[in-house]
């Protein structure tokens, strides 16, 4: 059966490889190339794949070549024709990979477009962002067309779930998480998202809501469960810093929102202290040094992961500091040395 996405057209600005593949948008794009330009271009598609040609056609093709290969230079003519044929075969490659690459690219663009929409200045160019419905539809169509590709399908389901979260379609997000099979998920990021999916969906629903205290206290058990589950995953994903940092940040926001669910000022202080101390655990000495002297770029030798970790920390520690300062002195919690250094660092205390 011919695949309906076999001939997707690329967007005008897509950079295609000489074999017609969509440019990969791999993680390495966020690595330093120069100190002033840390975001390098991603590598191009390096793999070609053949299309589904049948053997009978091949045989006819070969027979044709054989019948024409007569006289002087016949063998050279055959070799040339054969090579042309192989090149043609390889040229139509990348079909499936290209479809997946497009899904990856489009979904990321759509999610970011939704997220950045709050900042008018950076509203995405409608011409470059894929229609949001298309992303989910393409994922569904791809999985339907490749039911045997379980690892691919489950990874795409996780992506679809995140896409739905960005669209505030929480039920659809949970459904997408549910159909992604844990045994078919292999990356730390996807496995963590799957395992935390009920808590993540809950947090996406809860985070933007203005909760009066009775409601906040009603949600407290869910928050406590989420805090425990996130902490487990943070420890499990220590070898995948991007994932760990993301989970630690989300956990910190949950903790900050629910810190004031404590009965007394003392309890509120303790909850805030726990949030700050736990979150500070992901920062290394280089991070702390940069927090103390945050001039210029976030460290010339820093990796993209470190840059993100440092810059994203600001909102959390500022909010924590704001809440801690509202507590009376006797209610303030014990803050670990590492968290204290961050809270008192120039990066947090000074406005840029």
């Amino acid at each position: 059966m011919k695949n309906k996405y076999l001939h997707w057209d690329h967007e005008p600005n897509d950079i295609l490889s000489e074999r017609g593949c969509v440019r990969s948008t791999s993680r390495s794009a966020f690595a330093f190339r120069r100190a002033s330009d840390p975001f390098s271009r991603a590598p191009r598609c390096g793999t070609a794949a053949a299309g589904p040609l049948d053997t009978a056609a091949l045989r006819r093709f070969m027979e044709n070549i054989i019948s024409r290969s007569r006289g002087a230079g016949a063998r050279r003519s055959f070799k040339f024709s054969f090579l042309c044929f192989l090149v043609a075969l390889l040229a139509v490659g990348c079909v499936t990979r290209r479809q997946v690459a497009e899904i990856v690219s489009d979904s990321n663009a759509a999610i970011l477009a939704t997220q950045m929409g709050v900042e008018v200045e950076l509203a995405p160019n409608p011409a470059t962002a894929a229609p949001t419905d298309d992303v989910a539809r393409k994922i569904d169509a791809f999985i339907a067309a490749h039911p045997e590709q379980k690892a691919t399908a489950s990874a795409l389901r996780i992506r679809q779930a995140v896409f739905y979260l960005s669209q505030k379609k929480y039920d659809l997000a949970q459904a997408a998480f549910d159909v992604a099979m844990l045994q078919d998920l292999h990356s730390d990021r996807d496995r963590a998202l799957k395992e935390l999916s009920p808590h993540i969906v809950w947090w996406y629903k809860t985070a933007p809501r203005a909760l009066q205290r009775p409601e906040l206290r009603n949600e407290l058990p869910n928050a406590n469960k989420a805090l425990v589950a996130f902490q487990e995953q943070i420890q499990k994903r220590a070898d995948s810093p991007d994932t760990r940092d993301f989970l630690a940040e989300m956990r910190a926001w949950i903790g900050l929102k629910f810190a004031e669910a404590g009965n007394t000022s003392k309890q509120i202080g303790q909850r805030l202290g726990a949030v700050a101390n736990d979150y500070a655990g992901i920062f290394d000495d280089a991070d702390l040094a940069w927090f103390a002297d945050p001039r210029g770029t976030p460290g010339k030798e820093a990796t993209a992961t470190q840059i993100r970790r440092r810059l994203r920390a600001k909102a959390i520690f500022k909010d924590a500091m704001n809440q801690l300062q509202q507590l009376d002195a006797q209610d303030r919690p014990v803050i670990d040395e590492r968290a204290k250094r961050i809270l008192e660092s120039r990066f947090i205390t000074e406005n840029p």
Binding site: T25, A29, T47, R59, T152, K257
Partner: protein
Amino acid sequence: MLSAEAAGLAISITKGLIKLGGRLDLLMAERTAVGGPLVIPMPPVNKPALIWPKRVEKLKTHLAETKGLSPDPLGEDRKELANLLAQDPVPDEADRFFFRLFPELAEPPLIDPDAEYFKALKTHLPTVDWSDKDTRLAAFYIASGRDDRQLGYAARTALLVADVIAEFGAENTALFVRDNRVRGVVQSILERFAKPDLEGFDTWSPLLRHALGATLNGLVDAQKALAQENPWLDAVLSALALARENAADADNYLIGLVHGEGYPLLVSQGLLVAGERLGDDGADTFQKLVADILIHAAPLVEEDTKGFSDFFKNHWGDLLRAGLTSLEKHGSTLLEGQSPLLRETLLAMIGELAKTPDSAFLSSELVFKLAESAIGAVANKPELLKGNLKKEWFRDLVVSLAKTLSAQGIRETFTREGLESVVKVALNVLADHPELLGDEPGVHLELVNAVLKAVSAVDSLEAKTIATAAVSSALGTLANHPELVDSPFGELIAGFTEQVAKLVAAKSLTGLQAADLISAAAEAVLGNPALFAQVKENLAGAVVEAVLKGVKASQTNLLAGDGLVETVREILDVLALRGRDLIENNALKDVIARLAGAVSAGLGRAEKELGRRLDLPRLPEVLAGIVAALARGDLTELDPEHPKFKELFARLAEAAIARAQLEGAVS
């Protein structure tokens, strides 16, 4: 002109490349999906600007500051709010008033972590072009992180290439392997190796298992090529192939062997193959016989879950039957040149053994002894081989013995060795006296059966001792006194055996004493078989019972062990000689009571006479004399202090001394 061979090769290469491209495409698609970056937004957070204690404080301040204002900004809510704020702790419901009175503090602008991050990016990386979509995307990518699989995409790509090359190699083995035999092997291995999509493996263990399995299975598949010059290598490979074919998980069967599993099946199939190879048309008769046994053993090995250590012990009978069946089939050839009588006898017995399921319980030695007995019997009476008699005689012989050996009760009493030992004693007697087998060989084997059942009360060691004595005495006596063959002699011995076995079980006798008693009883019965036969109950047993009762009643310790056995022997002899009136005129229980009274009184007297005119070795003789006096009717008073009894006792004791002195002088 391009040859057809070259064109075929070109097509094959092209097909391989197409496959490679298609599968590589899927693999790379998976890598893109699994390892592709993902933008995961952080949801905006809604938080009041003030924490709860500060909100309470603010409400209290507001309540105080607005007190007395007119119009009252709180209106009718004032009272309720005042009530709430007066409580400690302040109820959560008060937050409703804060949200209403200070909406800008209760719901300040959302904190958007991503927007804050983006602001920080612009501040700290001002030279980056943030209007570029790809740059913005890259700033938000979350990498996929560690992959939990042992084999990464590079390794899986290599496996994919290896797979395609293996497929190509399997299709075109002739191109690079010239030796026909090796080519077959290589082709088989490559076909197996390339069967699943190798790039689907994501851990080493199953991949290595597959590689090993492919190699082993490929070798077995290529058995014809490998074993052209070595029929036994062919046999081994055939056995492996058969075992694999019959295994539940055929593909992993050979791998299982590497892990030490599935050997019964392999050995079973090995036996089958060996049996077939041995038993082909060119094989000699003995080889055919062995082949039959091996083929019969094959399913037994497969079913045996206990391992091989006890296999032959557990399945001896099955193998014996297989051997016997085969022997019956091939026996005429094997026994060619032997005397017709011997051949006929052996074949008849083997045929019967093969038909009898319980013959499984016969050991080789027992079969040998049985054959010896049968040959002796036939030599003694050749007409046993004629007509129906032949059939019935051999059946009776084999079935009786097999039944005895297989009887559940008997097998529970004896150990395997113990049972064989007793039966061997019986067969020895029958082999020495084949005439005992007569026309109904089962009769005497039934006697063995009865004796073996009679000792069921005692443990296996004592049972063996008693049963051996009983069988030996009974059959030995019958052999030496053929006139007793049709008498109830056997039953008497079996009954007596049962009684003494009970005494042994009750610790009243030892096994050896019981064995002596049985011999004594057999001799006594021989002395007067008619007398012993006419008592419906067992007279010999009654004597033992009476003596034991007498010993107990006397409250002495004078009679035990050998003295007791000797006393019983003497009394049995006395009764054989003089007991007719006593036994015929009294009920057995009265006889027992009187005998017990005599023994008791004798022992009472003996206690006082010991060292005066009596010693212990002569006590049984004196007691037998008292019983003889009783049997004759000369003794009516069974009181040890009665003058007549005293006198009788003194006379008997003096006579015993005199006899001893006389024996001493003679010797």
